[in-house]
Homo-oligomer: 234 residues x 2
């Protein structure tokens, strides 16, 4: 079913990998981590084990850089059979600090799109991850003024979106979500009868990937660049 | 100036050490940490250095357990001159996981007070710290139904409160904040002409302490137990 764009009053944007680059830095960190531990295991095995450790710790640490760093430290102890050096532990902590201090790199076209759409629609940011990190990135991005509301959530499930729409007093058919993750930004919206547009980013965390089964029969629109949104609202 | 309680429409509650025990677990963790590193330094020195490290990392890690654990790991490397054992690093990670998994212990009287006041006032929670941790504690606390709104903020400065009151469409004279930290829950409210009641907790993190200068000439009410709030609203 095609979206009736004339009904849309509020547009929600995911932040990481939709407004600015993020996943790239996690991939780079994993490469660094692999190099640091290469004496103990193959890069492939290190990658796999780190991912398992992240998933295992996700319920207690949640999303974001700090939990990722804690998982890397734990993984280093485990992979090395408790023989990893103090300097490697220090290097892991430094990877985390570098990630937190990365400058915000906007994805091309973001500013034009937000400037245009903010004139006719209420724009909000809906992002998961660390509250402080996301606030810092929003401030640095220079995009804050385009948004009526910023919502940092601990997860992006149907329930989180339903609560937010209630809170904002917006009905599902008036709401469009835009984001790079099928799992977090698209499928939950389809399930609550809201609208969603997918803009893939060139790299996706395995945990955000969905199976063919998950999207079977689900109808959503995919565009390649954020600027492709503009013609829909002309 | 005495608070005009008849004007109050919305009451904000701090969470950690106001609704439930929290700081006690950080103190216990610091004692554990001191024991783990006792071969390298005196307990006193370890305490001081850890506090300095936490403050130094606060701008990047923010409040909450994960940043605290990362600071402990970094401190262990530094205090030991990079000779700390892998098993000690593992023990530090475990301190953090234990803290995150602590059951929620409500402060005496909290449930009675919330049940009573929720009949006549809009109650909200305003807390800083880790989003996932605070959501988990709220769910576990069984208190969620008493609150109209939960706000997890990255810091509790005047600006954060002003933004929140705007968002909730409440004027400062209609708002009362209740909490254990003069720095975070009381002084910013006085500065924006809202109302605040202080309920001291038996232990306060050094970073939350204020100087005599800070509170000089500031007028606020202190009560010893949360149940002492009830007579004001009779």
């Amino acid at each position: 079913m095609e979206i009736d764009y004339s009904k849309i009053k509020v547009i929600g944007f995911d932040a990481d990998d939709t407004l600015w680059v993020n996943e790239t830095y996690f991939r780079e960190a994993e490469v660094e981590f692999g190099k640091l531990l290469s004496q103990f295991e193959t890069i492939n095995k290190i990658d796999q084990e780190l991912f398992k450790m992240e998933l295992q710790n996700l319920p207690i640490y949640g999303y974001g850089i700090k939990g990722f760093v804690l998982s890397m430290v734990e993984m280093a102890l485990e992979l090395s059979n408790n023989t990893v050096s103090n300097s490697t532990i220090k290097a892991i902590l430094d990877i985390g600090k570098d990630m937190i201090n990365k400058p915000v790199e906007l994805i091309e076209g973001v500013e034009t799109v937000l400037e245009t759409l903010s004139k006719t629609h209420r724009l909000i940011v809906i992002t998961k991850g660390d509250l402080l990190d996301q606030e810092r990135k929003l401030k640095q991005s220079g995009l804050l003024d385009y948004f009526h509301h910023i919502e940092v959530v601990s997860d992006k499930k149907e329930e989180n979106y339903s609560n937010l729409l209630n809170h904002l007093k917006v009905s599902p058919e008036e709401f469009l979500m835009v984001g790079n993750s099928l799992k977090s930004d698209i499928l939950p919206l389809i399930h609550i009868n809201a609208q969603a547009i997918h803009i893939p980013f060139h790299t996706t965390w395995v945990h955000e990937q969905v199976s063919d089964q998950d999207i079977k029969g689900k109808s959503y629109r995919t565009v390649q660049n954020i600027t492709d949104l503009l013609p829909f609202f002309k």
